[in-house]
Structures are given as structure tokens and as C-alpha cells.
Symmetry: C2
Subunit: 399 residues, 2 copies
């Protein structure tokens, strides 16, 4: 019999995608599906992105530099400099999305069995990327009651073993929408430094900080320059998910050398996405302001709508475009599937991502869902109305 690897057999199904067949069946029945399950923004990609590609007048679509086109790396470095961080283009390696960036970093840090500590709930694919290297994600649980605030450093320290290689955070948080205050990051930096751990920060939602909340990058932490690895992406910032352009940013030259070898083995990141990225990284601050304002309005609407539904707990959401929400159901996966299979309200239903897939601790998140507010306010309002009626119908069905 043909044999597969243990890691491949253990790969979890994506919580974002596993219900897709039910959504497709719903659409086949003529039901409109509001997609709140995946972080695919509806916002238009800046026209400058497409113009750069159309005007490139390329004849031969060649490999680029393995670390990314140099002029793009310069634009990315200039972007971090504008944010106040001393980063040069040699400290930036362009990857095929943040996915590849994470995959390279895990390959660089983890021997089989090695551990990375991550506050849960976390971006579900961290699990797959770690498992792909036979690595282990060790969760530190944050709670909805505390708006998914960073757990105290003691909780992290309690999980550190001889196999721990890094602490990984996502800030602003997917799936939680949490923004970590500077003091919390400084405490985390302290224990990373003390225990010789890398501090990996997934900051792909950096600009998505609402109200008067400020995003603090790990690039701004002093004294642990060698430990910090930032994972970044243009997917959300420029609504360019299909470009597959991300990057690794680090001042650790040894790490950069290793990931460059991985980058050379896979030859180069996609050329078109790089061309477009170079253009949009030059957009003025006003571009971000408009986008953030739009998402803030959606966040307001979402929170206000959810707060009115009985039994629903929506924490404070200050960043990114997700909320991890508690529903009055015992099994949110069953509920999400039921919404797609059995329910519609005024011809529509809602697709959400079941919460358990965002936790590594078995049993956690069973009554939670992740909601991505990537629809315009009008649709989002209808989706919330639909969810409200769905919860009532689901409860009555069980009774």
C-alpha cells in the first residue's frame, strides 16, 4: 500500500473552507449567501495596481530576484521608514503571500517536535504551516470576557520548554480583532529576550486600527532587534489577496541568509504581483485613511447589531476586520452548517467560520464563530438581520 506522511494525514481541514460545499449547495438552490467566513475584502484594489501591470509592457515574463524585485524591496523599506522603523531593503524578503513567509520562518526555526507558543484563538493556518514542518503549536488561551487581551506573560513563561523556539502573535488579531498595547508587547519582548526566543509578529492588518487606538509594531521594540520577525502582506492593506505578495522583515542577518536560500530554491515570487505592489506602496496616507474609515463604520454596525441579539457576546474589536463572537449555541459548526443547509431569511443566509478551528486546545471555541466584516454596511446589516432570525429558528428547531 502506498504510504503518506504522518503530517499530511494529520492536516486539519480549514475552518474557513470546510463548509464551502454547503454554501455552494445553498447557492445552487437559489439562496444568496453573505460571505462572512473569509477575509476577502470587497474593497476595490487601487487602480494604480492594475495600471502598473498594464503599463509594464513586458515581453518576457522572467524570474525576478529571489528576494523580490529590488525596487519593490526599496518601496517596502521606505514604507516601514515612514512608520518610524529603521529598515533597509536588505532586511526585507518578498514572499508569495504571508503564507510563504510563515512557512519559510517555521522551516528556519523548527526541528521536528519544536514548539512555537501562540495566543489562542489564532489564525487557523498557523497550525497547518507548523504541522508541515512537524512542528508544534503550543496555545496560551485568551478569553472573550477580556476581549481577547494578550494573556499575562506568566502564562507564556509557563509554556516555555527546551523545545520552544518562538512566540508568535498576530497584531491586530485575526480572528479576534484585538490590538495589543505597547506595554503588553514590551513584556512579551522581555521574556523572548530572556529565553532566547524569536518573537514572530504577523502584522498584515497593521493599518486596520480603529478609533484612537494605535498599532504598535514589534519593529519598534528596542533591545530585541535580532529576535523580531515581522510577517507582512499586501493582501488586506491593498485589497490584493490574489497577488500573493507578502514579505519577511527582520534585522537578523543570519535568519535572512537562511530564508534567502529557501527563496532561491523556489526561484522567485510572482512578477505581476510585485509590479502592482511597487505602485501601491507609494500611495499617500489618505488612501489608508479612507479605507480604515470604511472598516470602522462596518465594525460599528457589526458590534451594534450583535449587541442587540439575545445571547450573543461580541467583545470590543479595535483592529483587523474580524470579530470572534460567542453565540447561544452548543456547537457552532453545526449551527453554521445548518444556516447553509436549512435556513434562509428573505432569500439569504450567512456563512461564518466555526470557532473551534481557531483553537489548538480541544473543546475551546465550540460556541464561537469568526465573523469577517468584509461586506458593505448595507449587506452587513442584512447579514446581521439574517443571523438574528437564524439563531431564533435554530433554537426553536432544537426545542
Amino acid at each position: 500500500m502506498l504510504k503518506f506522511s504522518d503530517r499530511a494525514q494529520g492536516l486539519p481541514a480549514s475552518p474557513i473552507r470546510k463548509l464551502v460545499p454547503f454554501a455552494e449547495a445553498a447557492k445552487d438552490r437559489g439562496t444568496n449567501v453573505f460571505h462572512l467566513n473569509i477575509g476577502q475584502p470587497d474593497i476595490e484594489t487601487p487602480p494604480q495596481f492594475f495600471e502598473a501591470i498594464i503599463n509594464s509592457n513586458m515581453k518576457v515574463l522572467a524570474y525576478s530576484h529571489s528576494a523580490g524585485i529590488e525596487s519593490l524591496r526599496e518601496q517596502i523599506a521606505a514604507y516601514y521608514q515612514r512608520l518610524g522603523h529603521s529598515i533597509d531593503q536588505g532586511q526585507v524578503l518578498v514572499t508569495t503571500g504571508a503564507s510563504e513567509a510563515l512557512s519559510f520562518v517555521f522551516t528556519a526555526l523548527m526541528n521536528p517536535g519544536d514548539e512555537v507558543i501562540v495566543p489562542e484563538p489564532f489564525y487557523a493556518n498557523y497550525l497547518s504551516f507548523a504541522l508541515g514542518k512537524d512542528g508544534v503549536i503550543v496555545p496560551v488561551t485568551s478569553s472573550i470576557e477580556e476581549d481577547f487581551a494578550l494573556p499575562p506573560v506568566e502564562a507564556f513563561e509557563a509554556k516555555i520548554t527546551s523545545k520552544t523556539r518562538a512566540i508568535l502573535i498576530c497584531n491586530p488579531g485575526n480572528p479576534t480583532g484585538v490590538l495589543y498595547p505597547r506595554e503588553a508587547l514590551e513584556k512579551l519582548a522581555e521574556i523572548a529576550k530572556k529565553h532566547d526566543l524569536f518573537l514572530i509578529a504577523d502584522e498584515v492588518y497593521r493599518e486596520f486600527a480603529y478609533d484612537s487606538n494605535e498599532h504598535h509594531s514589534t519593529l519598534g521594540l528596542s533591545g530585541i532587534e535580532d529576535n523580531v520577525i515581522v510577517i507582512d502582506s499586501i493582501s488586506k492593506r491593498f485589497s490584493a489577496c490574489g497577488a500573493r505578495i507578502g514579505c519577511i522583515v527582520t534585522r537578523n542577518a543570519e535568519l535572512m541568509q537562511m530564508v534567502l536560500k529557501m527563496a532561491q530554491a523556489r526561484l522567485s515570487p510572482p512578477s505581476f504581483g510585485q509590479l502592482g505592489a511597487e505602485a501601491v506602496y507609494q500611495l499617500p496616507q489618505s488612501y489608508y485613511d479612507g479605507m480604515v474609515q470604511e472598516y470602522a463604520s462596518r465594525r460599528d454596525l457589526l458590534k451594534a447589531s450583535l449587541d442587540q441579539i439575545e445571547g450573543v457576546v461580541c467583545p470590543e474589536v479595535n483592529g483587523a476586520f474580524y470579530a470572534m463572537v460567542r453565540l447561544p449555541v452548543a456547537n457552532s459548526e453545526d449551527f453554521c452548517q445548518w444556516m447553509l443547509e436549512e435556513f434562509s431569511y428573505e432569500g439569504s443566509t450567512v456563512m461564518m467560520a466555526p470557532g473551534a478551528g481557531f483553537y489548538a486546545t480541544p473543546g475551546n471555541g465550540n460556541d464561537e464563530v469568526r465573523i469577517a466584516y468584509v461586506l458593505n454596511c448595507e449587506d452587513l446589516k442584512k447579514a446581521m438581520e439574517c443571523l438574528k432570525h437564524g439563531l431564533i429558528a435554530y433554537a426553536n428547531r432544537q426545542a
Copy 2:
């Protein structure tokens, strides 16, 4: 001290890229460098590729299906059907280049320490991809005297252990230019079947078969449908290296399910490359004929030129666009570096890939180089002239 994984510390430098700094220095001195080191075709990408992208009129650059846009998968399946293979779109998974395809397949098959048997010399990045999964490449040596023909199956069988998971071939061969006859493939298939091994075939150079030689795909082998995994790419076929579009083709549904999970974790392949690929997969046979004719002329010129240089051994080359050539030098890496650092002829020098990096057996390939004939005949002629004079000067320098 911060720790890195063993695999990252063991990653080899790419034989194709390691001399790049010397090439850049040569250019800085005003020397023209003929790039025969990397398989980057100079042929223009078909205009239909760019037109499809320009005409797409996209507003939101969204994630595509994780397995690739369905209409692209249909075109790819149709392409295999035209070649006589019963493949449907569910048996095709679009990847970010053949690089990702290989990486996914190795992840699916190899536990740490597991082995894949590969005839050497082989595409150097196989080593990096295997090492990235803590897997082991076990070489079976082929020889320049026999034009790098597939070694007898007994040589493969002798290497099979309880840890062997697959046999991997590249056909037509990079770096050898060898085309395997059908009978040799059938014998290989027999032992793959007998020992329950996957047979992975990297067929990205499928169309590059010269003279009356025919390419035989592993997809056409009967009785081992479940064992065969084809790795493919549009990079060479359509001169679209920067698109980063490849695919995995297999009739093994269980494998397909596993790689789909990996594909979902990294979200999707690049959207622009997929749009272009869908257009060029619809090109008529005449497109391939013209391209293959051009490369056949280059091959003729290369072989004739090399045969005239004293001490050089150029084997028969029937496919792909590489030749693994023996030079009258003890250390081809030293020679290649010297060509870039110390030598020029009529203002030019030649960059080649040192041979040792294409072997896993230490000591093999030290007097060989890989030459990629990706220049037009005029430049190729000049490059060969330059190489001839370089070899003489290098010999005199040593005397």
C-alpha cells in the same frame, strides 16, 4: 543564543545562483556576461498571455479557488487529453510554480528521514525541497559516457529501503537533456508498483523533445495510475517563469485530497498568472512547433561548438534545453568563478552552473558544468567562442 533548525543550517547554496555576486562584479567592470547558468528562456512570452491579463478588467484582485481557477484547470486537463491522457480537472491542482508542487508532494509523502530515489545529476532544488521536510534524496548515478541514460532498474532496487517513499525522475532531464525511452519508464513503473512507491515525474520540459525523439509521459503508463504524480509548470513551455504557475497532476484521489488541504492553508496561487495561463494553454500545436524548432537549432549549434573544443565532452542531448558538459578542468566551480572574475574575450564572459551541485554523491560532477542554451544562436555562438578561449587561458594560467 537564538537557535535555527538543522534543516535550515544544512540548506545548500543554489549552484545556479551562488556565483551571482561574481557575475554582478563582472558587469560592474563593464564585461558582458552570457547567462548560460539559469533556465530563463529569452523567448518572448506569447502575447495572448499579457492580453488576457490586460483584458480581464478586474476590480478586486481576490483569492482564487485554492486548487486554481476552475476554467484554468479545465484547460490544463484538456491539454493532457490532447496528449492522449485521460485527466479531468479534479485531477489537476494548480500550484505556485513547480517549486510549490514539489514541496507539497514531498510534504505529503515524507516523514522526517524518509527517502526519495533520484537519478543524479538532478535538478539541484530537489535537495532543498526534500531537506525542507527533513527528507533524504538518495541518488542513483547516471554517467556522461552513456549520455545520462536512466540507470538499470537494478540500481534503483538496490537503493530501496523501508524508508523509501518514491522514485523521482525529470523527463526530459534538467540538467542532462536526456529523454527516457518508453521501455525504461515501463521498467521503472514495474518496480514502483512492486515496492509500493510513488513515481514522481517532473515533466516541465515535456514539449522540448528534438529530432525524431518522442516524449513519453508517466501519465501514459498503465497499471500504476495510483502511483504516478506529474509535476508540471508553464514557466518553460510558455516562457512565463515569472508567472509562478505550475501544477500537480495525479489520479490518486487520496493524495489530491491531502495536497488540497495544503493548498487551502496557503489560500490560492497567483491570480494574474492563472489568467495568462488559461489563455496560452489554448494555443495551437504550431506555437510549440516554432519554439521547439528554435531550441533544436540552438542545441545543434551548442553540440557542434562544444565537440570542437579540445577536452570537452558533450553528451547527446535530445530534450529540455540543458547540457551537462565535462570540461578539461579539475574543479569546475573554480573555473566558472575564474571566468567571471578574471577572464573576458572581446569584452564578454560566460556564466555557467558548476556541476557538483547537481549531484548528491560527494565528489561527483566536479569536472562538469550545466549549460542552459537559452540564448539566440548568435549570442550562443559568441558564448561558445568565449568558453573555448577561456579554457585555453585557464589551462595556461595553471601551467
